[in-house]
């Protein structure tokens, strides 16, 4: 069985499934610091040629990592985002990179729509109102607004963004988008820059990956362009939005509300948001369903098996791509 370097904490079922097919070198279980562990790895009967990593854990796949583990020729990430992987460095060394492909897209798109509806209809805030007994005492809760006829600007029309689009169309929304290049196969209006998209949109959905170009892609100007009745939902990465400016815009009423699953310095959430009823806060859980979990396991194993049998990866990531 081929050896793989496991750099994430696996669930029992995933672990079992991996061990059925591969010899698993479990870094996190070893308790050793990464350098010592990696130094020992090539000495094992057969060095690991593939590594399974995840975003948000301590392992960054960069030049240092690849120097320490030169046997690694394929990195499979169990997330969609690959900001923890130096894609250019991997490309230089001919190391193939795969991510979770489409596995999470449906659940993240559902979550984006859920956050948007929550903000617009104030479900969370109204729930707090009911639970503290205010309905009986203070009377009716002010209403939100409906989705029909609203212009939705999607930043990043990839696997997630396109699913969000399909869902919101059914509510009567007008869909428009920004991404690096226009997509000829979609009927939605393309905006070459996010500011112009924001000017013409009632809501923005951030659904792009995080890279050099998209860091703070939603900045002060974009928020001002979105305007006083505008709503923003972020299911990308916290750093896609300039968080300080976002908090300021919300405080000053420059935008109407926000639904946020991600933040720049998780798990730290700006305290000013806690008292705002027009904001829905979540803890980076858009991907976490039982269904996506089991899909992910199957998909990760699929990528590994493809690599070891010399087949093309199921979801390869190119060095210059913006992945979902």
């Amino acid at each position: 069985m081929p050896a793989i370097l496991l750099c994430r904490r696996p669930e029992a079922s995933f672990s079992a499934a991996l061990r059925e097919r591969f010899r698993v070198l479990d870094f996190l279980a070893s308790g050793e610091p990464l350098p010592a562990f990696l130094a020992a790895a090539p000495a094992a009967p057969e060095p690991p040629r593939a590594a399974v990593v995840t975003g948000g854990c301590s392992v960054r796949v960069d030049a240092w990592f690849l120097d320490a583990a030169p046997s690694i020729r394929c990195v499979v990430s169990t997330g969609a985002g690959v900001d923890h992987i130096d894609l250019a460095e991997c490309a230089r060394r001919g190391v193939a990179v795969a991510n979770s492909g489409d596995v999470y897209s449906t659940d993240v798109a559902d979550y984006a729509v859920g956050l948007l509806l929550d903000v617009l209809r104030q479900l969370s805030a109204a729930g707090r109102y009911v639970r503290r007994g205010s309905w009986a005492v203070q009377g009716d809760y002010p209403l939100g607004c409906k989705l029909g006829g609203k212009r939705v600007g999607i930043i990043g029309l990839g696997n997630i963004g396109s699913r969000v689009a399909k869902r919101l169309e059914a509510f009567g929304c007008v869909i428009q988008y920004n991404s690096r290049k226009p997509k000829d196969s979609v009927p939605y209006k393309y905006f070459p820059n996010v500011h112009d998209l924001a000017v013409e949109s009632d809501m923005l959905i951030v659904a792009c990956a995080l890279n050099k170009e998209t860091r703070h892609i939603v900045n002060k100007n974009v928020l001002e362009a979105l305007g006083k009745s505008g709503v923003i939902v972020n299911i990308g990465r916290g750093s896609n939005i300039d968080e300080e400016e976002l908090v300021l815009a919300l405080k000053e009423g420059k935008i109407a509300g926000a639904g946020l699953d991600v933040f720049e310095h998780e798990p730290k959430v700006p305290a000013e948001l806690f008292s705002m009823d027009n904001v829905v806060l979540s803890r980076h859980i858009a991907v976490f369903t039982k269904e996506s979990r089991s899909d992910l396991h199957a998909h990760t194993i699929g990528n590994l098996e493809a690599f070891f049998s010399g087949q093309p990866l199921l979801s390869p990531v190119q060095a210059d791509s913006v992945v979902q």
Partner: protein, 408 residues
């Protein structure tokens, strides 16, 4: 589209005259009820306004603006409509202030005549349902506001006999007692979809027209139903509570919920709202099942002959039917058991649709997977046992209307 609404009362002959021989764009029309007053008959040309407007009655009903519930009354001309004379680009009607398009100007003489007729018409507003509505009613009529009189009886004593129209909402019952105090009442307009708060037989006996707003809320309620379903299954308000309580201390702190897309959605009552919900959830690849008294031709939706069967074959059960004697407690213990520990109930109908004590105990005991509730048996009182449940989304029943609804 913003439409101004005109209330023409007893302008039958005038109205007929205006419409005769003109090239009217009668679309869209908000039609409350149309009867020709007997005195108008001599003005009726070969085509009568009723015949002219008749095709548009069904148009208006399809657009779901108003529908008449009472019948067999003395002839009255009662129209809510917007008339645009496309041939001369002038506008005729009463008290017409348009926001869109702004360039139409009504002939002053018509305005004056109409204004005089309308000004003195006493309309009673039961509740400040909407600021715009109140403002417009105030401009056009002699408006009385129930909440400004304490006790309310004093209003009825002083003005009861003069009141010819009442604008109400679900929170105020329209029964014999109220109708006794309003002997001149001709029309009751409810700003709601449901009219279970109105004693229809009493109104019918007294010849009082009853109208509702069947379609203005459809999209809003459908949006809410889907929002509640996603929020309940993905536990969004629970995540929000968690973060606000300062409990998010480490990255990778999560619990697994269940995917919304692809869940089987069962809808009780596939009317306007039920269909709007079906359309939305189809975009999430949710198979749609439904139950109602009669099966219809919906090739993409699966009909079940009972609510229990519907519940047994659905993951999300949505109550979207009107409340009447047959649908009271339509979601009972048996239905809840059939829906099961993984099932989610969404109630955007009325509290009495559901056996609430059963619902609460099923949720607390885990026999039902979750719920999203907009309505309750005894509003504004909500069973406190529900407050601590992660899988229950609670919102206070939205009675007041939104800014966007005002123009219908």
């Amino acid at each position: 589209m913003r439409q101004a609404t005109l209330l023409l009362r007893s302008l039958g002959p005038k109205c007929v005259e205006l419409m005769r021989g003109r090239d009217w764009d009668l679309s869209p029309i908000l039609l409350a009820y149309l009867h020709l007053p007997a005195s108008a008959s001599k003005f009726v040309p070969p085509f009568s306004p009723f015949r002219v407007l008749r095709p548009y009655v069904s148009l208006a009903t399809r657009q779901g603006t108003v529908s008449s519930q009472a019948g067999g009354a003395p002839p009255r001309l009662f129209i809510l409509l917007r008339l645009v004379d496309m041939s001369s680009s002038s506008f005729a009607g009463t008290d017409c202030q348009f926001t869109h398009p702004p360039q139409l100007h009504p002939p002053p003489s018509v305005l004056a005549a109409a204004a005089m007729a309308m000004d003195s018409l006493s309309v009673l507003l039961l509740y400040p349902v909407n600021a715009y509505l109140e403002q417009e009613l105030d401009r056009r009529f002699s408006l009385l506001r129930l909440w400004e009189h304490s006790p309310p009886d004093s209003l009825f004593r002083a003005h009861g006999p003069a009141i010819r129209a009442v604008v109400g909402y679900p929170g105020h019952k329209v029964d014999a007692a109220l109708l006794d105090a309003l002997p001149s009442l001709e029309i009751f307009s409810s700003f709601s979809v449901g009219i279970d708060h109105v004693d229809l037989s009493e109104c019918r006996e007294r010849g009082i027209r009853v109208t509702n707003t069947p379609d203005v809320l459809t999209d809003d309620v459908a949006d809410l139903a889907v929002g509640l379903a996603i929020a309940a299954l993905r536990k969004i308000p629970q995540a929000d509570r968690y973060v606000r309580a300062g409990l998010w201390k480490a990255k990778g702190d999560y619990t697994l919920t269940t995917r919304f897309s692809g869940k089987r959605v069962g809808i009780i009552g596939l009317g306007r709202i039920g269909l709007a919900i079906a359309t939305r959830v189809e975009a999430f690849d949710c198979p749609v099942n439904y139950y109602q008294r009669t099966q219809k031709e919906y090739p993409n939706y699966t009909y079940y002959h009972s609510v229990v069967e519907l519940a047994a074959n659905s993951d999300v059960l949505v109550v979207a039917c009107p409340l009447n004697e047959q649908t009271r407690r339509i979601v009972n213990r048996e239905v809840i058991e059939a829906l099961g520990p993984k099932g989610v109930l969404i109630n955007i109908g009325r509290g009495p649709h559901v056996d609430e004590p059963e619902l609460v105990s099923a949720l607390v005991e885990g026999r039902l997977g979750g719920a999203g509730l907009d309505v309750f048996e005894d509003e504004p009182n909500v069973p406190e046992a529900l407050f601590t449940l992660d899988n229950v989304v609670l919102v206070p029943h939205a009675v007041t209307l939104k800014f966007e609804l005002k123009h219908n």
